[in-house]
Amino acid sequence: MKTFKIGIAVLALFFAACTTMAPNVLHVQAGPGGLSSKKVDINDKSLAKKLTFGEVSIRPLELGSSMEAQVIIQNNSRRDVSFEYRFIWYDSNGFEISAMTSWIPGHLSGMEARGYRSTAPGPNAVSFKCEIKKSHPITESGS
């Protein structure tokens, strides 16, 4: 019985390694002076132990045409961490206005913190979310 349980546990771990978790998300609302509010949704607790969202900075571009955002991502582990991230921008009606939503590979050395930037696609952008997830590319053996 014990061996059977171990066998099932090994199978479960095998399939867990093949599945992907939902990303951890930082929601940011921009205001007239820059950052208005932010909220974090943790969907992958094991990733959250290694990577956390740090300071968020927003600066307007010239003539108020748009804005640029920077999110600090901190690696709290001593080992290098590979991950994927993306920014998605929204207008005041909650419509997604980003033209590019591809996942971008990222890499942080042990205990490193770095700023990741995105420029709002247009002057109608009022909020964005920054998503991070474990690196899960399509490889020569499939996804």
Partner: protein, 198 residues
Amino acid sequence: MKRIMPLLLTGILGIFILGGCATSTVSYGSPEQTETVTEEFGSTDLQLIAEKMVNSLLSTPILSTGQRPVMYVHRVKNKTDEHIDTKSVTDKIRVTLLKSGRVRFSAVNEVNDEMIKQMEYQTNSGVVDPATAKSIGHQIGADYFLFGEITSIKKSAGRVKDVYFKFTLNLVNIQTGLIEWADEKEIRKMKKKPLLGG
């Protein structure tokens, strides 16, 4: 026997489940997903380059004046030894910039012959209502054009292959001849063969 049976049953169950993976299947994937199928230039590299260039261009003061400058893409030279469709990279940059509404693109360098042919047809054929015919002499002149190149450095030793790509893009002011903006994106990809097989 009592100890072996549960392990055997687990193994057989696993084989049945994994056996479902023995046949080849085709399925749709997400175009947003990253890929590291080979160390050659791929879709994720294209997306990385476009993302960097667009973010950089959208931040430049030239596109922040509210006047929507007109530009076109001249050429991106492929100086690598791989086949890279550089037009697909610049198309992605152009589409994303157009969607931002902060820049206009001229089609003259791509379809100018067709436009002139169509205008001559509309003006001279006698078939088109003169009130709607488009005449020559009204094209908006471009203010800037983009040009660039992609290079690579490849090194391999033993089981490791390292490929470094560098994509450079420049924005030229047609009136003054000055390069008003430039940026580059560096990508490194590494392939490590396994000790056995591969």
